[in-house]
Symmetry: C2
Subunit: 230 residues, 2 copies
DNA sequence: AAGTGGTCTAGACCACTGC
DNA sequence: CAGTGGTCTAGACCACTTT
């Protein structure tokens, strides 16, 4: 091991774990002991081990010490791109068409997902995103008007709902579900996919702090693949 | 803001960004200035801001300072569970059946994905994982025998390929592609899904350092959803 | 009760990069 | 070249949990 940077320490720990010096389930020496061995401050060892814990390679508990994880989960970081950026990143030109727009009471499943009362006032939008004039994905979105009354006045034919929301409510939390579903009805028609074609589908619910903001289903045109790195 | 823990500092920074005190693209005060304002050590501010940078909420560059990100990417951390743990986590009992096993030269697309010469010696396995005796997913795996010659001797009827590899080559890197595909042939039959049924599909290629180890396609039974949190 | 990780401090030097 | 973040140190106290 060269140097005493936290990266060097981390690399050394990873090397020992990979080599089986500390097999899965084994207890690692305490931070103070490793600091003494490596000739660095405990803080530095802490920094290195914290990184390993975030990656799921080790489990750390006070008093109980640090153990090599038995079943290191495969953790992949998915970066869900802004649709426009994703299309343009492939060298295609992006455009979108607003298909429908209506103020409507929340449908049962939408209300349930967002934790709103059924029938709460919402704005229901559907849009088609295109890459070089070919259908790229179908967007089916519900916006909570209680949280975003301004949405009612926006002209979504000029700016896609996706982009307006990003600009308007930038920092949010939420959850995502990925699945495969069969193309049906309007979605199938707009994506030019026969009924029943498997579509990659992303459902996302978004909150701004405690306030439910929006729920969207993105149905990608056939053949789409979402890539991630471990 | 109460206390001067790095979490309190981080919360305060997030609050100001959300409130628009520092709009997207704005330059934040330097760490030293914020430390003075909050009455804490610069290290503490650094800890808080590092977290925000990891989440993609701000961009940091030496000399240039810290800026609020203009297009906060939606970054979701997917935790791809060990199959057995995933099934048992749902309260079902897990089992698996080895469907086929053959030493075979690498198929063209497998070789291409892993960067192996076509026809390299590999072990081809297919298996079915069950949850309470119902089909859960179909596994189609290729193992690089040059990297893992021991695999040739292993009895995969007792231990699933998935688990053997985890125990044997625990700490790896790789990439993942998620897609929707139509059930066909043996996969459809084993999952008890009619031909053409949309299946959620995960393709994963795995390396141990520079050495290609394995490539696998997991086809989940109809209805499966992969969940992630932003 | 005691040992372990979690965090905070005050200070220092370094690396990078925009001016 | 000067200002900013990146990192390291040595020391301290605290929180939690197992013994």
């Amino acid at each position: 091991m060269k140097g005493t940077s936290w990266r060097a320490v981390q690399d050394e720990l990873v090397a020992r774990i990979s080599a089986g010096t500390w097999p899965p389930g084994a207890l690692l020496p305490a931070e103070a002991a490793l600091a003494a061995e490596f000739g660095c401050a405990r803080t530095t060892v802490n920094r290195a081990m914290r990184g390993l814990a975030e990656r799921g390679l080790v489990d750390r508990k006070r008093r109980a010490g640090t153990r090599v994880a038995r079943h290191p989960p495969a953790r992949a970081t998915l970066t869900i791109p802004v649709i426009r950026a994703e299309v343009e990143g492939q060298g295609a030109s992006w455009s979108h068409r607003l298909l429908s727009r209506a103020a409507a009471p929340a449908a049962e499943e939408v209300a349930a997902r967002l934790g709103l009362p059924e029938g709460a006032p919402m704005l229901h939008l559907t849009a088609l995103h295109l890459a070089d004039a070919a259908p790229f994905l179908h967007e089916d979105r519900w916006i909570n008007l209680a949280a975003l009354p301004e949405a009612e006045e926006v002209d979504f034919t000029a700016q896609s709902p996706n982009e307006w929301l990003l600009a308007h409510v930038p920092y949010t939390t939420g959850d995502i579900a990925l699945s495969a579903s069969a193309a049906t009805g309007a979605t199938a028609r707009h994506l030019a996919a026969p009924e029943g074609t498997p579509l990659f589908t992303l459902d996302r619910a978004t909150w701004n702090g405690p306030a439910p903001v929006t729920q969207v289903r993105l149905s990608y045109a056939p053949g789409y693949r979402l890539l991630a790195t471990l």
